[in-house]
Amino acid sequence: MKRVGSSSSSHSDPAEQVPTWEEVARDYGGFIYTVAYRLTGDHPQAQDLSQEVLLRVRKGLETYLPGSMTGWLSRITTNAFLDSTRRAKRRPEEPFADNPERVLAGDVGADEALERGDLPEHLQEALRSIRPDFRGAVVLCDVLGFSYEEIARHLDVPIGTVRSRIHRGRSELRDLLS
């Protein structure tokens, strides 16, 4: 997907006007949904999360400062996701390996999988299986292209925590994909 962090030239547009709620839903809905899906790994949950994000957008649009819509939406989406995982924390997590549909094809190499065209789903399944706080940091960094400083600001955690979460998330992914 289009990376929107500071490493991308599309990060900000000083001429951007504050859009209406409907314009956000119409113009940025696809972006919100992609981020929501990468975080949840599940379409029904991505739909719920997208609706929650739009609700927060409607309430918070007055505080939005033009120039960083995708960054603002990324932060809202990630925080809404982390909030939902905290709320659901009392529910037991489904162990990754107990669900046959979610077991990775461990004997398939990355190159072969890429050629076969099925790597993205396996990667998404693996992403879904790592800890939510690691997942949020990894998505913000690797999928959306935000810097550590931006992620620290989005998640309101120290930069060192960001680096640790990203690395531990990647390490877990490596183990799941190997």
Binding site: R38, Q124, R163, I166
Partner: protein
């Protein structure tokens, strides 16, 4: 070496190490084959993550959210005005309410009645040379009261009050004595609860319609479609910056918000 949990690996790949860390890490790399392996593995995962593409939402997903939000705003407006309308209708109606009888509300007929009377309102919106819209006549953008256009009792006992809204649209409230016949509900009507009573909303001829039954009276509200009005005017003024004048647009939104229960 710090091995698998050495988060300097990710910091290095992301260009997020300080100069001191970077120098030390490069030294460690040159001396530690296991660390180099870890670096390669994490780099591979990182690279694969960065190839993940967009994910499409189900077809029409966001359109449905937007439409639902619009509908809630309209229903909120209709519901708010219903209370005012009911109070005014008491004044309009001088005769006792008839014994309740079951009937099927003639929605299309009421909408047509509303539409015929609303046609005159088009002359109240004028565009100036700057493509700004102005409301002519007695509508006042600076106050929030609705203007009663007319109030009548028709020969079949239906009370009808029509209001002018400051966004240039009209709203009709029909009150008919009786109760709704079983199975009257059109297929496209959406049921909802309004103050403890059942109500149904639907669209007819580009108008929003709400039907509610309360105390052996059937209320049918018909409102010009605010969004259709906006869309039409924007369509007619494709090159005009801003389209509608701020005054008109803001006033319309205030009207919507004022009568919203949300």
């Amino acid at each position: 070496m710090r091995g698998r949990d050495d988060d300097r690996i990710s910091g290095y790949l992301d260009g997020e190490l300080s100069e001191v860390e970077l120098s030390q890490f490069k030294n460690d790399l040159s001396e530690d084959a296991a660390l180099r392996d870890q670096l390669d593995q994490i780099a591979a995962v990182r690279g694969r993550l960065r190839t993940m593409g967009d994910v499409a939402a189900p077809f029409g997903f966001f359109e449905r959210i937007v439409n639902r939000e619009r509908r809630h705003r309209r229903v909120g407006a209709l519901m708010g005005v219903a209370a005012i309308a009911a109070a005014l209708l008491v004044l309009v109606s001088a005769t006792p309410v008839a014994e309740p009888i079951e009937f099927v509300v003639g929605i299309d007929q009421l909408v047509a009645q509303h539409a015929t009377a609303s046609a005159d309102m088009s002359s109240m919106i004028e565009l100036d040379d700057d493509h700004k819209a102005h409301i002519l006549g007695e509508a006042d953008l600076s106050t929030m009261d609705l203007t009663v256009r007319h109030a009548v009792r028709t020969s079949d006992g239906t009370d009808w009050v029509q209001y002018g809204r400051k966004d240039g649209t009209m709203l009709s409230v029909f009150r008919q004595p009786g109760t709704l016949a079983a199975g009257w509900m059109p297929d496209d009507a959406e049921a909802m609860e309004m103050g403890g009573d059942d109500a149904w909303i639907m669209q007819r001829l580009g108008r929003d319609v709400l039907v509610a039954e309360h105390d052996s009276m059937v209320f049918t509200l018909v409102a010009d479609d605010y969004d259709d009005l906006m869309d039409t005017m924007h369509h007619e003024l494709p090159d005009a910056s801003g389209g509608l004048s701020d005054d008109l647009s803001n006033a319309a939104m205030v009207v919507i918000d004022l009568f919203s229960f949300s």
